[in-house]
Symmetry: C2
Subunit: 453 residues, 2 copies
């Protein structure tokens, strides 16, 4: 059955209001962690803690893991160190890492101290990998085999380590020094005669990433090859761990959100995937204000361009009526281009060596679009103001502005990539604002030339 958000919400609230802890406990412990996490987002702080306290420990750990960052922080601040260490011990190590490194960094050392030494040691090693690297996302628990084992031995191995590994769809074959030399699926092992040796049927043509690979790249590699898990190795190609498909899905969803938010000029920090309603309003304002102010200041230059052409505008008042139309069209064209290019680079359709092909293509696109819009715009201007010269100015300006904004819209993300900046940082409003000022300059220069002002 699919979960009914409103129904579960209502049931939880009813039990809370009736102070019926027994019924509440029975209700929530029978749900999926994801669904309880959703309910928590809608409760006030006190109710949140009450519900959380009624969860059985394994489920509580899962809920802590699935909740939004704000709720996770609230819960972690509220709970005792002992309780947190117990809950973290029930979670996959990669999620523990995310919690101590990103959700409550201020309690990082205290929590590491209180954890079993071996686990704390592994976490400390993982913390040495850069944020947003594959090393931070991987789990170190996976199924290992030696190539001279039989299929029967492999299955016994699975029974032995079962509770310790997060996923168990593939076995990784390592040599004596820990290098990855092959992969076999659990399915293949079950399906082969029990005495067959692993090296006889393992896959040797391997795809993997190094621990310092960016998480987004690792996730796209996993998705590209339709894998359920992707091995992570160190620079000497020694096996370190695996990234699982559910984590890859989370990374891609988060990256897509980031790309979309940046595209319209909302600054997001890495890993910032706060749910809409629980994001504190002062942070939302800050994230939005930074860009708006920047664009605002840039837009005052647009006003300066107008001041430069003050006498032209005074001579032909009708020129000013076309300002919103021309800068609007330039901005819209540029926004289309920039998002096409950013998306193309994100899904690796466009590679760094493609710069010239992209520029040629977008310039051509801009000229064609500009010619089409220029014809419509020129005609519209003629019908409106009955002034042929002005109509020509509008038509020519549209051709030039579209070609220009398409070029700018592709050049800037390509250039950002070249100099090592994430191209998704380039927002459509930035392009729009650049095109506003330069487009007006182009427009009024063409007007001066053609109208002989």
């Amino acid at each position: 059955m699919l979960y009914e958000a409103e129904l579960l919400d209502a049931q939880v609230i009813e039990n809370l209001e009736n102070d019926d802890d027994a019924a509440l406990k029975a209700l929530i412990n029978d749900q999926y962690a994801q669904d309880i996490a959703d309910v928590l987002e809608r409760l006030n702080t006190e109710a949140k803690f009450r519900v959380f306290e009624l969860l059985e420990s394994d489920l509580a750990a899962e809920v802590l893991d699935e909740a939004g960052i704000y709720t996770t922080r609230q819960l972690l601040t509220h709970l005792s160190t002992e309780r947190i260490v117990d809950l973290l011990g029930r979670m996959p190590p990669d999620d523990v890492l995310e919690i101590i490194a990103e959700d409550v960094p201020q309690r990082r050392d205290e929590l590491l101290e209180a954890m079993p030494t071996e686990i704390a040691q592994e976490l400390r090693e993982s913390l040495n990998f850069p944020p947003s690297s594959a090393g931070r996302l991987m789990t170190r628990k996976y199924l290992k085999l030696r190539e001279d084992m039989t299929a029967f031995e492999a299955l016994s191995q699975l029974r032995l380590v079962n509770s310790k590994v997060e996923t168990a769809n593939d076995f990784y074959v390592l040599d004596d020094t820990g290098h990855l030399i092959g992969v076999v699926s659990l399915r293949a092992v079950v399906n082969t005669p029990p005495n067959r040796r692993i090296h006889e049927f393992m896959e040797r043509d391997l795809i993997y990433v190094t621990a310092d690979t960016d998480q987004e790249e690792a996730a796209r590699t996993l998705a590209r090859y339709d894998f359920l898990a992707l091995p992570v190795v160190n620079d000497d190609l020694k096996m370190l761990g695996i990234i699982t498909v559910d984590d890859a899905l989370d990374v891609l969803t988060r990256e897509n959100t980031e790309d979309m938010m940046r595209l319209v000029g909302i600054t997001t920090s890495e890993g910032d995937d706060e749910p809409y309603f629980t994001a504190p309003i002062f942070r939302v304002i800050r994230q939005r204000f930074v860009w708006l102010l920047l664009l605002f200041l840039a837009d005052t230059f647009t006003g300066n361009v107008l001041r430069i052409f003050e006498s032209e505008l005074a001579q032909v008042v009708a020129l000013s009526f076309y300002i919103p139309l021309l800068i609007g069209t330039g901005g819209n064209t540029g926004a289309q281009t920039v998002s096409t290019i950013i998306r193309g680079m994100a899904i690796q359709d466009i590679k760094p060596r493609d710069t010239f092909r992209v520029l040629r293509r977008e310039l051509l696109n801009g000229l064609i679009l500009g010619t089409l819009l220029g014809a419509v715009g020129g005609l519209r201007a003629y019908l409106w103001d009955q002034n042929l010269s002005l109509a020509v100015v509008i038509g020519v300006t549209l051709v030039v502005v579209c070609a220009w904004s398409n070029t700018i819209g592709s050049l800037i993300p390509l250039f950002a990539k070249r100099i090592g900046i994430d191209p998704a940082i380039v927002s459509a409003p930035l392009i729009t604002t650049l095109v506003d000022a330069t487009g007006l300059f182009i427009y009024l220069s063409i007007a001066r030339l053609i109208l002989g002002l």
Copy 2:
């Protein structure tokens, strides 16, 4: 090893130029299908066919499946019906469905005729589900069990059907009438004593979707619960098939691209995920021109607003210098809001019942942002034009315009959802254009009032 795109490209081209088919054949048949598909995108038509002909059939089928829609169409047009039927027989049925329904719909009936009757019958049934529904995405080959089977019998079952099923991480437990009653993982079956019966350890708390569920919703459900496969049932809850995680990943990537493109006003049809370079330029132009023209026509209204206030603009020329700044800020604010809301709805942070909460929150955001920007803008205007009344006009306008554009930016996608339109169709430029005209009207009305024009 990770594949080196440029290296593989160069090797393929070298072999093509040397007419060394033996070396080319050895080279490409040792690659992953995804990598060969990428190489094909960069070759001309003739070279594409030559390389494809050298592929072994199983790999050729995979390449056909992984290639961009344009290349797939080229290959399918070029190949004989017999060859295509052979290749389709080597693909997962859900991918066959996509090819005959979307890639070459004109050859659909011919291909169905030529296929083995049983498969054609299944495909016809699947074609009855609406496009973009879970029914079109699912595979009908999955591992079935009865609840009274033992773990040992389950494993024998796996060996029996092995070659027919695409993924085999979970077994689905059906009752005598084909209803889904439980799920067990392969791992659990391997780990339990061989004589234990399935009903003793199967998971009974099931998550599934019906066949007419939208693919995006199904993919998000799978991702939400970290599943590797999601069961699809009919309205009577009879099991029909499963959706696998790799298909869910593809759906989410495609939906994200669509949302981003629509957000900046590029019309995309369902399932339109053409790679950047192979998309025919006339189609790209058409997709972009539709929106640009619409926005262009809407922007001419903005010009009309200016004409209404012609006398005010003539009296205080400085008013016109602030036009780009004010409409720019309104547009930027609105674009931020609309993308936040659309994204929030896509990842189900925002549900239909949240309309009022969203509106209240965005109105508050708009007022705060407007006050901050109004203070900066008013001060800037005073320093610039040394006119206190004008500075007040700019400041007040910014407050009102930001609140207004935030409201419009949240109202329109929420309203679209209410009346059953995909909210992602609402683009940032549409909001920007709406805010352009209305924002100017607000600005010049406030100016008229405060300056007493």
